[in-house]
């Protein structure tokens, strides 16, 4: 029996972070597409339908991640989105304690601190895709 590989879209403007996340996901047997920013991701989404997206929060703009997340949820409401953020310390905002109310306006399914540990990322991806 063959199962089709699940598609994951990874978006980050930092080449190293992009490589790390896609390496972790490829090793897990997922089919990974990468983009270096919101615009590039929106172009990729024209041909690539993800089963899950992992997005950096701060890219070209402070809120590119939110905007992209919103865009994906509009196209594919069922696709889970993981937002990666290294922003908490810089702004003093502790997203982790606001997960409940924050996620309702952010639309992301979960926020993870950067850098996400591979085991944590794998677990969340599995949980969100109910693999």
């Amino acid at each position: 029996m063959t199962t089709t590989k699940k598609n994951i879209l990874v978006v980050d403007d930092d080449q190293d972070m992009l490589e790390q996340v896609s390496l972790t996901m490829t090793a897990e047997g997922y089919n990974v597409a990468t983009a270096r920013g919101q615009e590039e991701a929106e172009e990729t989404l024209l041909q690539f339908i993800p089963d899950l997206a992992i997005i950096d929060l701060m890219m070209e703009h402070m809120d590119s991640g939110f905007a992209l997340c919103h865009h994906i949820k509009k196209l594919y409401p069922e696709v889970p989105v993981i937002l990666l953020t290294g922003v908490a310390a810089a702004t003093g905002i502790d997203f982790s304690t606001r997960q409940g109310d924050a996620s309702s306006w952010m639309k992301a399914d979960i926020l993870l601190d950067k850098p996400a540990r591979p085991e944590q990322l794998r677990a969340e991806v599995k949980r969100l895709m109910r693999v």
Binding site: D13, D14, Q15, D16, M17, E19, Q20, L23, T24, A27, R36, M58, E60, G86, V87, A89, A90, T91, K114, P115, R117, P118, E119
Partner: protein, 384 residues
Amino acid sequence: MHKLKVLVVDDEEGMRGGAVRSLESFRVQLEEFSDIVGFELKTAGDGASAIKLVQEWSPDILLLDYKLPDMTGIDVLSETEGKRDAQVIMITAFASLEVAVTATKRGAFDFLAKPFTPDELRGTVQKAARHVYLHRKARKLEEEKRQVRFEFISVLAHELKSPLAAVEGYMHLMRERMKGPELASYDSMVGRSITRLGGMRKLVLDLLDLTRLESGKKPRAIDRVDLAKAAGMAAESVASAAGAKNVTVELEVAEGLAMTADPGEVDMILSNLLTNAVKYNKKGGRAVLQLSRKDGEVAIRCSDTGIGMTEAELSRLFGEFVRMKNEHTRDIDGSGLGLSILKKVVKLYGGGIKVRSVYGEGSSFEITLKDASVSAPAAEPAKA
């Protein structure tokens, strides 16, 4: 014109009317700020309505009679303590020392003894208006300074966190033996980690340079600097980066050209210029550094055939942590502090910087430097 709100509190109607007539068309010139202050007036005949107006209208200047029908002026001050942001001028017919001391304790700024002439009133109000104006101006500057500092630290934190996150991420992957047991498989991860750490180290060093320049704590060793040699050293420092991009670096400097300066500072200027000319160049491009003497000053020109900048990018160029982020520059490393540093160093030599750029064609930086005096002490604190 800047308008200040004045509340006149007096039980005598004639007094209130007189004060309003004296002040409504009165203007205070603040020549040092090229500003004029005018007044908007309201009046109150008793303590209770005065308290209400202080809280609801927030006057900037309070002309307050001591003797009111329902309470004293001191009671008004006590009632509104902590709720007013006004300079208080106490008006009193019986100027007793006791009243003066109590009123001052409650925050009165000045006194006016009854009866007074319109000119005396204007003179006192003018003093208070100046005080209010200067105080507000200082407060605004302080707030702006705090905001700039907060933004600087936020961006700095982000710039320091990104490379740390990248290196930490690679460490996680290596610990997991993500690419198998062969050590060589991890070469690129180690290489990238070293590059990111190097960038972070450069940021910290640049930050130290910038802080030293700003505080005037940078020790200087003024000497005769051989500019041909200095340019050669700067070219050498960018040689490997230039080689990697196949960028030709050309120097045009007359043998024996020299200036009186701190050699380290000259190197900061030349290296900074050449580094940018190489970094933001196209593959196979040219970077030209020219040095000459013109009207007793040293003229430096560094031009490249690089990616250039748009007008909007050009206008933001010398800000801290401004790195032009677009599809051409996103893989270029840099602290974002180089040009801030350059600008501050050039200022130490009474010089100027001119930048010309055509998007897609290249940029050219023109700098003039005056010779430093041989006995130049530590750098004067540079103003942003």
